[in-house]
Amino acid sequence: MQDEPTPTELIKAVADFLRNEITPAIKGHNAFKLRVAINGLDLVTRQLALEGDSDSAEAARLKQLLGIDGALLDLNRALSDKIAKGEVDLQTPGLADHLWQTTMDKLAVDQPNYASYKRELGSK
């Protein structure tokens, strides 16, 4: 068992240090890059917090849709195959809901401030 603080706590502490202590001291193109860096760390903390639950829910939906079991990557490969061959489409019960839920879970990690995501969160 690894000791504390947890990865989430450590990354958050580093991101907060960069945001609060370093950002005011940096100008120009490096200020832009620093913002990208902080965004990257924030993304990682969101993924560490959310990925476990969203992955298991996604896997459960895929098992239901496909009627098979397997690793998440293989299940996604199987679904992609079926969509490409036209064996499932937006008329297939559960497919649109599954794609929406999976995509919303990705945006919650990648870009929770993306305007389309915020709009869809509000109109759920």
């Binding site: 990257g40 993304l43 969509i83 937006l90 649109a96 945006l107 305007a115 389309s116 869809e120």
Partner: protein, 328 residues
């Protein structure tokens, strides 16, 4: 050091030029660079832009039209009265600057967030969509006989290209599969009318001033094809920068874009434009995945590229909003 070569170059063709000053690189990958500089001249300095492939980088990669073609297109656009910089000089071997051209520098803004939010563009924003409709109509109407040799694209070829590129990443994305299937089922076939297509008509490639559009830049992706492609591309949500209810670049409506296009004597086809908007959204998503690939494999192991890889999910939600909208 580039100032010495540029100085020799401009002295040979710019009347009274004695050299250049303030040369600074604006952007550039390994094979193509953009520089800004001033031509020093007794009657006042003149702003100029160098766009070049440095010596040793001759051929343009993949889809690129090539710098010679870019220069010809910009000059044709300028001559037709479209907002475009004047091409001042096409590089020759004796210039020792590589291949490319020097053009007039046009002042203004290309950064979308400033164009969409800064007070100085408040007057321009409501008229931009209509204005750009007119500009793109002008591009589509440039005289065919004078155009350089360019690749010819169809919707069918574009779908095949995107499919190949997506599959080369080897990572399944069900939403992209859905979009590819949707596009194949609605492929309108070869366009009845084939024209010059700018190919990258969007924020970043448009210089905007408080008075409106001042220049169209970056003809690197120019080709022959369905003119509706340009109208669809500028409506892709990724170029709205948060202003998602204003489909044209976050500043205007499709109706205004089409009105400007039709006022210039051309016909817009809203269904085909929508088809190309879906294509464009998928294309940007696949380009984001490509950035991730280059981050992993390429010499450009940059944090920015890595983070752009995480933006492909933005195009997935936009594709779902287009193809499978949820009941409000």
């Amino acid at each position: 050091m580039i100032e010495a070569e540029l100085g020799r170059c401009v002295a040979a063709w710019y009347p009274g030029a004695t050299g250049v000053t303030g040369a600074a690189k604006l952007s550039g990958g390994a094979s193509q660079e953009t520089w800004t500089f001033d031509i020093v001249n007794p009657s006042g300095n003149v702003g100029a832009i160098l766009r070049r492939a440095p010596p040793g980088y001759g051929a343009s990669p993949g889809r690129a039209a090539g710098l010679d073609a870019e220069a010809t297109l910009m000059q044709l656009a300028h001559d037709a009265g479209l907002p475009s910089p004047r091409v001042m000089h096409v590089l020759k071997p004796e210039d020792e600057l590589g291949t490319g051209f020097i053009m007039q520098r046009i002042e203004g803004e290309t950064i979308a967030r400033k164009i969409l939010r800064d007070e100085q563009f408040a007057q321009a924003r409501p008229m931009l969509a209509r204005q750009l409709g007119g500009v793109v109509a002008g591009i589509h109407g440039l005289p065919a006989a004078k155009l350089p040799k360019l690749r010819e694209m169809t919707a069918t070829k574009e779908i095949a290209d995107l499919d190949r590129e997506y599959r080369s990443f080897g990572r399944p994305r069900p939403v992209f599969e859905l979009a590819l299937r949707w596009l194949r089922e609605r492929d309108p076939g070869p366009s009845k009318e084939v024209t010059l297509v700018h190919g990258d008509f969007r924020h970043g490639n448009l210089i905007i001033g408080p008075d409106g559009v001042r220049a169209v830049l970056d003809w690197e992706l120019a080709h022959f094809g369905d003119p509706m492609e340009d109208l669809g591309w500028i409506c892709v949500n990724s170029w709205r920068f948060g202003e998602i209810d204003k489909p044209v670049g976050g500043f205007g409506s499709r109706e205004d874009l089409f009105a400007g296009y039709e006022a210039a004597g051309r016909k817009a086809d809203p269904d085909r434009v929508m088809f190309w908007e879906v294509m464009g959204t998928l294309r940007w998503g696949i380009m984001c995945c490509g950035m991730m690939q280059r981050f992993r494999q390429g010499p450009d192991h940059s944090m920015e590229r890595a983070m752009i890889g995480r933006r492909s999910s933005e195009t997935e939600i936009d594709l779902l909003r287009l193809l499978a909208p949820r009941g409000k």
